[in-house]
Symmetry: C2
DNA sequence: CCCAACCACTTGACAGTGTCAAGTGGTCCG
DNA sequence: CGGACCACTTGACACTGTCAAGTGGTTGGG
């Protein structure tokens, strides 16, 4: 049909709604996100989301699961590009993803807005985070060995906290006011250096 | 006019609203938080919050500022009890506070729900976080010297991420741990060991 | 050929929310 | 007494998520 539409892809209503949700997330952040706004942007009625996703949490869960999928593939292609899977590359990629998709990333970790036990969500999350663990296992094969899983989780917590603090402006409030990207890079380096 | 600055009996509406907000935060989390619910709990009309705080963000800002105040005094009394101010004690206290006051802690770092430039909020935040920086400065006086501020911020990011991941159930989903407190303790130890 | 079933929605209603304008009762002050 | 000020309240508005019922189009079987 006349697929001119300057808007989202012409696809099933479900996909259109998901795309619209991503758009709203980008423009209004994860706080000012309404089903009706999403429906408006997708060009459907205000109750269409309910039909496709059951409720608000259902839609957001689908968005979050897609987000974990993207995170996983970002991590994968980063390690592939580097040839070798290193903790440093992974951490950098994780932080970059979180800061490039702030509202999405925030949503992905807000179980009170999602259906946290949704199997698709759980699978996507496990896939993405699993990459981190295996990377650390491989890296520390040379050295520490014993507490590899703990190191993986600790690195995850560091990267995750870095995203959160920068996203929420806390780091900038406290540290010098220079470019947050630079600050992030310095902190990643310090953490990496302290690890080995 | 008879009374001084601080009251206990027969609190004014403003203080009652703040207390009610804390209660709702505890019971319904930071997501299901409504001005009208708070007003109901405080026994005032639905528009009373608007009178005292201007808008929703105004009330939440006051709550968050109080939260930073409590965090600061928790950190202070922890270091006082220990006699010596160590990064480890500080980190443990920070994480404990975040997990004991989950909804409050979450709110404290959500600038999109607050008035992030409110001077009281900024001051309370700077006070609490400043403690962390000075502690690291003191600690690394013996050793690293050069990159002390970076280490402080990195430690903060680690502790902060740890709170976030545990609070949002992500760590539990990935590590098959039953007791999250134990997991947290192990990670704190790993991080501390890796630092020196 | 027709009619039923199903799908992908839409329409209309409801209770609940934050915000605003205007009103109300009390206390203080000159 | 009269006004100013304070600490609210009342009532309204637009907006939100959710639900029940309806609608139009396609398909499949008798």
């Amino acid at each position: 049909m006349t697929s001119d539409g300057a808007n989202e892809d012409q696809a099933g209503g479900r996909a259109r709604l998901l795309a619209a949700a991503r758009g709203e997330l980008l423009e209004h952040g994860s706080a000012g996100l309404s089903l009706r706004g999403i429906a408006r942007r997708a060009g459907v009625s205000h109750a269409a989301p309910k039909y496709h996703f059951g409720d608000r949490a259902g839609l957001l869960t689908a968005v979050a699961a897609a987000g974990f999928g993207e995170l996983a593939s970002a991590l994968r292609s980063a390690t592939a590009a580097e040839g070798e899977l290193s903790l440093g590359v992974l951490g950098r990629t994780y932080v970059a993803f979180g800061l490039a998709n702030r509202a999405l990333f925030e949503l992905m970790f807000r179980p009170d807005q999602l259906h946290p036990d949704d199997p698709d969500l759980r699978a996507a999350q496990a896939d993405a985070i699993g990459l981190l663990s295996t990377a650390v296992a491989a890296e520390s094969g040379t050295g520490v060995t014993e507490e590899a899983p703990e190191l993986a989780l600790a690195s995850w917590a560091f990267a995750h906290g870095l995203v959160a603090l920068v996203r929420d402006g806390a780091l900038q409030n406290v540290a010098g006011e220079d470019d947050p990207a630079l600050l992030v890079e310095r902190l990643l380096q310090v953490f990496g250096r302290v690890l080995r």
